[in-house]
Symmetry: C2
Subunit: 225 residues, 2 copies
Amino acid sequence: MAGKRNDVPPRVRVRRGPKKGRYDRASVDDVLDRGLLAHVAFADGDDAVCIPMLYARVGDRVYIHGSTKSRAVRLLAEGAPACLTVTLVHGLVLARSAFEHSANYDSVMAFGPFARVLDEDERLRAFEAFTEKLLPGRWDEVRQPNAKELKATEILALEIGDASVKVRSGGPDDDESPDAERETWAGVLPIVRSYGTPTPAPGLRPGIELSESVRRLLALRAPPG
Amino acid sequence: MAGKRNDVPPRVRVRRGPKKGRYDRASVDDVLDRGLLAHVAFADGDDAVCIPMLYARVGDRVYIHGSTKSRAVRLLAEGAPACLTVTLVHGLVLARSAFEHSANYDSVMAFGPFARVLDEDERLRAFEAFTEKLLPGRWDEVRQPNAKELKATEILALEIGDASVKVRSGGPDDDESPDAERETWAGVLPIVRSYGTPTPAPGLRPGIELSESVRRLLALRAPPG
């Protein structure tokens, strides 16, 4: 992947606000690894469709999964043009003018197509990555997929190639404008994510303690985007 | 818009997990109004593209906006097939098996196309809606758009017609399975959003107090999705 703006293919070049664009692989991986949910765009006949999907990155690949009976999964497996986007919103940007109001965010866009993953070991590693992305340490605590579950699940991979990151950060853009003379407070209102109190499953057997993975997460980490 | 599953057009019908689909207008509006960020899918030549956008609903229309110089905005303004999706993630669903791990979420999907908004009064009302969606009460505190800003901004509207909501809620799906006999904690880890401490703009004049709208938001409300 190219690291400079002029080297990057037109479809991934950040055109508006070019200073906000990043094309290096470390920036792409960083946003992918901090996110939780992707939105995946693809064509379905004459329609454009945008669906939310869980995902995980392993090395140069971004994996998604779904039922083998899902229409979206089937279309993506057939190699439909696709774009996976992950956006983390950090704060509300409050300016003195309505026009300069915005949001601070990191967003990564990676172009497909996706391809079916057939190798059984890679499929299992992708399952592990999905589980570990939701909750690090969880894979070793839970029952791993059996043959029936693996058969019912299509796993698709997107090779990270054409990808870009767009970032909006910092305060409002009107600090240097005549609007800064106004009597209006301006700045950023951060949006913060945290975990609430774990809710046991209704069918949880009495006496089972909170998993080590959950306790570690509550002690150490903010939620992914 | 149809309220029953069998009345809804194929492209909006929730096919996987049909119990999770809702098609009534109140459910659609509810998720749109609670969300902050949309992802918009459209075709650009042979590519499918998915971009994050701020948006606001007024009545039967969802508005987005962008620079008149933006390629995405131009394509959408020309009536490209489009899909706007807003997803609110509420929690991590932690099961006893890797297979049943999931996330709880509300997601709304609304199909375009978008159309350019030309009426000056409607354009101003859309601007007001964008500002009020970020921060209720903000519109009356800030300088409203001038002629130059209005000219530089394309406002696009999607008429809410074909739309659906998909919801995943509650605990893991393995309470009734043999896996429930395992010694593994299972349940939901809620994801909670809150606002952090407001950061003044570097150029904020000394002595300007926090706006009433910000104080009210910090006192009363959780952030939008």
